[in-house]
């Protein structure tokens, strides 16, 4: 599935026309298909600095059946196939001088990168640097990766993982995600992993098997996609939406073998009702996805209190109240629970006419950051996902110009699909994502807004 322009630009005639006119040529992204290998080709792994993660990375890739190539030399000599991904282990940088190694490795490797390729840089967290020079080198990775993301063509992405010492075991899950088709629309992101209890041999085919997952706002759009992907990955999904959307909700639930729960999450007794439902029907819950959200756009000066309050109630207060109720309900939130909160690009970049919406979505980011240590203490995680321009029924009704600009001003030159958001959420819900906590992952194709 792709948008009309992407389809057109990749058609025979479209290719000719877009090339001659110098129009953007959005690539067809490599997206996850159950059963497909992690990567369609080999990975080149290189280092800058001491590189303490090299062995871990190699082991993960070998386990996934991926061929690991030696670094490409500056003269372009290779040892075979074009790489599908380039991984730079930049841990152990001591100062900016060490970054030369990064350049030496990346330049020839990226040159040979296939379409929908992956560039992933692993580094130490700048905040934990022991000297200004070390901090400078580590922070430099930020600018490096973001710029690579903007230079890459043909649906390739660049992301970075900051891996503190002692958190090496947490790397496997995020590494696999960023190399896989699940991260197709995640670009230019820098995440920090932490030490956590990570399962030894995670189930790659059905990573959520046996889990109970709640998805709010599941009747349509991104919520329906989240429910579908969680179910595909093995979870039993409790699909929640307002009673008025119950018919669509039932369709979604029936399509994935889940259950439908009609609930207005802003009702005073909604948290309690959800808790009772989960306790009665499932005895507990493993994954909670706060996806329900509404917009009531108006310039701030014209915005009435109702617009402000209803958006806040649905987008932020309900997430807070329900999460708190789940935490308070004894034993309900199972060990290793995952809470994923849907934020928005607007919450990061702001958006004209969306003061209420952007405020609520920014609030979500603050909320997960604040809750993360408490969640970590019980072996759980809470993260936010901030979608960029995602093609849904809602965006289909936007004016053509707004929609086209919105979908093109990102490094991948196209809008994302609901499934892209869903894949990221499903990944954060996996046991293997235990080391990602309190983070906000943007699913925006490296949007220029708020970047």
């Amino acid at each position: 599935m792709a948008d009309w322009y992407t389809t057109f630009a990749n058609s025979g005639l479209g290719t000719t026309i877009t090339k001659q006119l110098g129009l953007p040529r959005p690539a067809e992204l490599r997206r996850h298909e159950p059963g497909q290998p992690l990567l369609p080709g080999p990975v080149v792994v290189g280092s800058a600095g001491a590189g303490r993660l090299r062995d871990t990375v190699t082991a993960v890739l070998r386990d996934a059946g991926v061929t690991v190539q030696s670094p490409v030399t500056a003269d372009g000599a290779t040892d075979g196939e074009k790489p599908a991904a380039v991984v730079l282990d930049a841990t152990g940088l001591t100062g900016p001088g060490d970054l030369a190694g990064a350049h030496d490795f990346l330049a020839p490797a990226i040159k040979r990168l296939r379409a929908s390729g992956r560039v992933l840089v692993l580094a130490d967290p700048p905040a934990e640097a022991t000297s200004p020079a070390q901090a400078a080198a580590r922070q430099a990775v930020d600018g490096l990766v973001r710029s690579i993301g903007k230079e890459l063509l043909d649906g390739s992405t660049a992301n970075a993982l900051f891996v503190p010492e002692g958190a090496e075991a947490s790397l496997a899950g995020p590494l696999r995600f960023f190399l896989s088709g699940r991260s197709a629309y995640v670009d230019g992101q820098l995440l920090t992993v932490t030490a956590a209890d990570v399962p030894e041999n995670p189930d790659e085919v059905a990573p959520l098997a046996g889990k109970v997952a709640v998805v709010t706002g599941a009747a349509r759009g991104i919520g329906a996609a989240i429910a579908q992907v969680l179910a595909r990955d093995g979870a039993h999904v409790v699909a929640v939406d307002v009673p008025a959307a119950g018919d669509k909700l039932a369709e979604v639930a029936n399509g994935i073998g889940g259950t439908a729960l009609q609930l207005d999450i802003t009702a005073a007794d909604a948290p309690q009702r959800l808790v009772e439902h989960l306790r009665e029907r499932h005895g507990g819950v493993d994954v909670v996805v706060h996806n329900a959200g509404i917009t009531r756009d108006k310039l701030l000066v014209n915005m009435d209190a109702t617009r402000w309050n209803t958006v806040m109630a649905v987008n932020l207060q309900a997430q807070l109240d329900i999460t708190q109720a789940l935490l308070d309900a004894d034993g309900l939130l199972r060990d290793g629970a995952r809470v994923v909160c849907v934020s928005s690009q607007s919450g990061i970049a702001g958006n004209r006419g969306q003061t209420n919406y952007a405020a609520s979505k920014a609030g979500v980011i603050g909320m997960v950051r604040a809750w993360a240590p408490g969640f970590a203490a019980r072996g759980a995680t809470i993260n936010a996902v901030a979608p960029g321009f995602i093609v849904t029924e809602m965006t289909a009704t936007m004016p053509f110009g707004t929609r086209e600009i919105g979908s093109r001003i990102n490094s991948l030159q196209q809008g994302g699909l609901p499934v892209d958001v869903a894949e990221t959420i499903a990944w954060l819900s996996q046991p293997a994502a235990a080391g990602v906590n309190g983070q906000t992952v943007r699913v925006c194709g490296q949007s220029m807004l708020g970047a």
């Binding site: 119950g246 369709e251 029936n254 259950t259 439908a260 009665e280 029907r281």
Partner: protein, 428 residues
């Protein structure tokens, strides 16, 4: 049943589509469409996709000939496993409750572990029949073997035969509309206009309040753009209802209006029943148990009893068998076919001469606490798609009992065409 060793069937939950006044939201929907959507909503609520439950039992009062296997066809179109058996029942307005009793009995006997009981009706897509003469002529045309026979059959068709027969909401043996019958009963029991309007207004207000507090969130699934019963008038009041002209009865006895009588309605409902073990194994709740049920019929044709008075006779039998009095209930669900029916029913139970003379009791059954009657509204507010009403009431009452806590008891009383009544006891 009360003393036997059989197990009691559990009511796990229910689903219905919002009820729509005839010719409105569901004007284009067939019984099969509505029943299928209702089953799918139930499947979604309880995660029964691809499951084969023991049996699905449902029915419709107004049925097309093509709907001879309505419930099975709906099952085949639903998300239930295609290996789920189904059959149709029809006991007029008692269909839905009777279906639940049938399913419950099979569960009680251990013949099935779980089953779905339901009902559906449309007055918008009611079957039109060709007249008897044309029908017979067409049948003989169809069976004619020679061209000559066919021509002879065709020659018998007269223009007058071509007018379709529209089904009338009238008792075949009396030729009276149900409302006319109810009006006779209302006059006999001296049921006044004002008390009928009060009951109707209360039904609307209570149901609107129940919707507002989310009571129906897990009982109703929207269908064709309708999320609430479109007969529901939250702002209904005695003053507004008092302005309506009577439509049934004559002279002083003309107290029944479109406001205190149920309108023709389209809709469907379904209830999931199961053994406790089945529910437990599936992690599904047990809202209540169906304890016992009773049906009765009265001779409304030549016997002088009111058409809708059969539940009045059924209840004392049920009470006696279960060692209960009429006051031993926390909730009463008396189907509001007409406001006057509910009032006449209660008046009869309070009437010493009637209870002794007609019901053969030593003393009147007595009054019931009106505060416990139809507490979340009933058919006057929701509307009354004949066969769907039983399922609506069973699911709603089971939920009320569950919310009230263990050991609570509810009584259902449903009157039906043909002078019949189906009553049942539910207990949490």
């Amino acid at each position: 049943m009360a003393e036997s060793t059989t197990r009691r069937a559990a009511i796990v939950g229910g689903n219905r589509i919002p009820f729509a006044r005839s010719g409105t939201a569901y004007a284009q929907a067939s019984n099969q469409d509505m029943l299928t959507a209702t089953l799918d909503g139930l499947v979604a609520r309880f995660g029964l996709q691809g499951e084969s439950v023991g049996e699905v039992v449902a029915g419709a009062v107004l049925k097309h000939a093509r709907d001879f296997n309505l419930t099975r066809e709906a099952v085949l179109g639903s998300k239930l496993a295609p290996t789920t058996p189904a059959y149709d029942v029809q006991q007029a307005c008692g269909t839905g409750l009777e279906a639940a009793v049938l399913v419950a009995n099979k569960i009680a006997l251990g013949q099935i572990e779980a089953g779905i009981a339901g009902g559906v009706d449309t007055t918008s897509d009611a079957p039109l029949a060709v007249g008897d003469d044309l029908r017979r002529t067409l049948i003989s045309l169809n069976s004619a073997k020679t061209v000559q026979d066919r021509l002879r059959a065709l020659a018998r068709i007269r223009p007058g035969m071509l007018a379709p027969e529209i089904p009338r909401n009238a008792e075949p043996r009396t030729g009276l509309a149900m409302g006319d019958h109810a009006a006779i009963t209302a006059a006999e029991w001296g049921i006044g206009r004002e008390e009928q309007d009060e009951l109707a207004a209360r039904s609307h207000q209570r149901m609107a309040a129940a919707y507002d507090r989310g009571f129906f969130d897990d009982l109703v699934t929207p269908f064709l753009g309708l999320a609430r019963d479109n007969n529901l008038r939250p702002d209904s009041s005695v003053e507004k209802l008092a302005k309506l002209q009577p439509v049934f009865g004559t002279g002083e006895g003309a107290t029944m209006t479109a406001g205190n009588s149920t309108p023709l309605t389209d809709g469907a409902s379904a209830v999931l029943l199961a053994s406790d073990e089945w529910a437990r194994a599936k992690g599904l709740p047990v809202l209540a148990h169906l304890v016992d049920a009773q049906t009765a019929a009265v001779d409304y044709v030549h016997g002088g009893e009111g058409l809708l008075m059969a539940p009045v006779y059924a209840v004392p039998v049920l009470l006696a068998r279960n060692g209960l009095t009429l006051q031993d209930f926390d909730f009463y669900e008396i189907h509001e076919a007409f406001a006057s029916t509910v009032l006449a029913t209660m008046k009869a139970w309070e009437d010493e001469a009637f209870c002794k003379g007609k019901l053969g009791l030593d003393a009147p059954l007595g009054a019931i606490d009106r505060a416990r009657l139809n507490v979340n509204g009933s058919s006057l507010a929701a509307g009354h798609p004949f066969a769907a009403t039983g399922g609506r009431i069973v699911a709603s009452l089971a939920k009320m009992l569950h919310e009230a806590g263990p050991g609570k008891r509810g009584l259902i009383s449903i009157c039906a065409a043909g002078g019949q009544g189906v009553v049942a006891i539910l207990e949490s």
